[in-house]
Amino acid sequence: MQRLLIASPHRYPDLARLWHRIVTRELVPAFARLPLEVDVNIFCDANADQFHPNLFPGVRFSYSGPGMRDFMEFYDRTLHAQCDFLLFLDADTFLLNGNWASSYFEAFDNPNVAAVSFVPRREAPAIFALLCRAESFRALPAPALACRYEFPANWPHGINLQPGEFATRELIKSGKIIVNIAGDESSRNAANFRGTTGFRSSREHTTQAAGERVFWQSVGEYPAYLIAAYDNVLLGCLYESLYHEPFAPDQAGRPLGGSLTVADLRQVLKGVRDPNQLVLLRERFELSQQYILRMAAQEGVELSIPFVLSD
């Protein structure tokens, strides 16, 4: 039987529990019915001691070490794991309909199909949820999946290829096909809370290197941070309703203290004056609300979503 490996790098065990819950409920059984032999692999990119195996039944863990020092090396190392197909699924991306995802497996009947991208980036294939034919990617020069910078000396006008973009480009050049699910269809079947992990790690790094005050300044300067902070609030609502534990706590255990607490987010949002930015934030918050409410409905729980943005 052909083997599928579902693989993901994670920094935070709370988010990983949500990810694992949906992967094991939706994806593992749906792909197993095809039939495929399905394995799940989580790479602990940080906080390895907090990933308790009993909370993640059926998961094989990988840890940071030589040859796999961070999530970027994890991608390429995992290409050579014992499997025929790989589903790279980001820590903050949820495929909510396993039958929908597995239905695309038949695309691989065409030997030229190298991958199916379930969640696009600006309507182009992306690694957020990428189902790969392993041999196609293994044929590329290493590192195939890591991000890279072309023409770096021309900064800021060089080309910053995100993880997987180099591989996609090279495969297409060689005549392979990447099936790219369009944004509309993707949004109906997947939920993407992009940047939530990055925001939490950014808080750690910025505070460590430059102090808490600088972190607060940076929050005000980057709208993407506000979106990620709000998405963490939503993920926290779902997580706490399912597990009755704080999500993204700080070292004192304060809920969302490792991201932005609801009170802190409200305070920062009060300082946003640009009407265009407010419209953008409102639209993005509404999209994220739709995602989390769909996830809650699947779980059979009702969420009380805190109000953060005034009219």
Partner: protein, 91 residues
Amino acid sequence: MPLVLARGELYREKRFGPNTVNQGAALFECEWDGGRFEAGLFTGGIFRSGEFVGGIFLGGTFCGTWVGGIWEGGFDRSGIYRSRGDSPSAP
């Protein structure tokens, strides 16, 4: 007199020349050309030249001289990604 950047300061999309010493500021998407980076955070941007002796480097492009500090990830002068704990000056 050198320009000294201190802890608690944040700079975004600024250029710093050889007469700069960073003693703890955070630089987001900045261009560093010369100077000595002793502490703080460099994220995004390009470190064209100068010495990095301390602080955290995260996600930018590094073409300078790596003496020490924490390499969290970023690109070397060829644009190749170097993983956490690597040295951007290594072959």
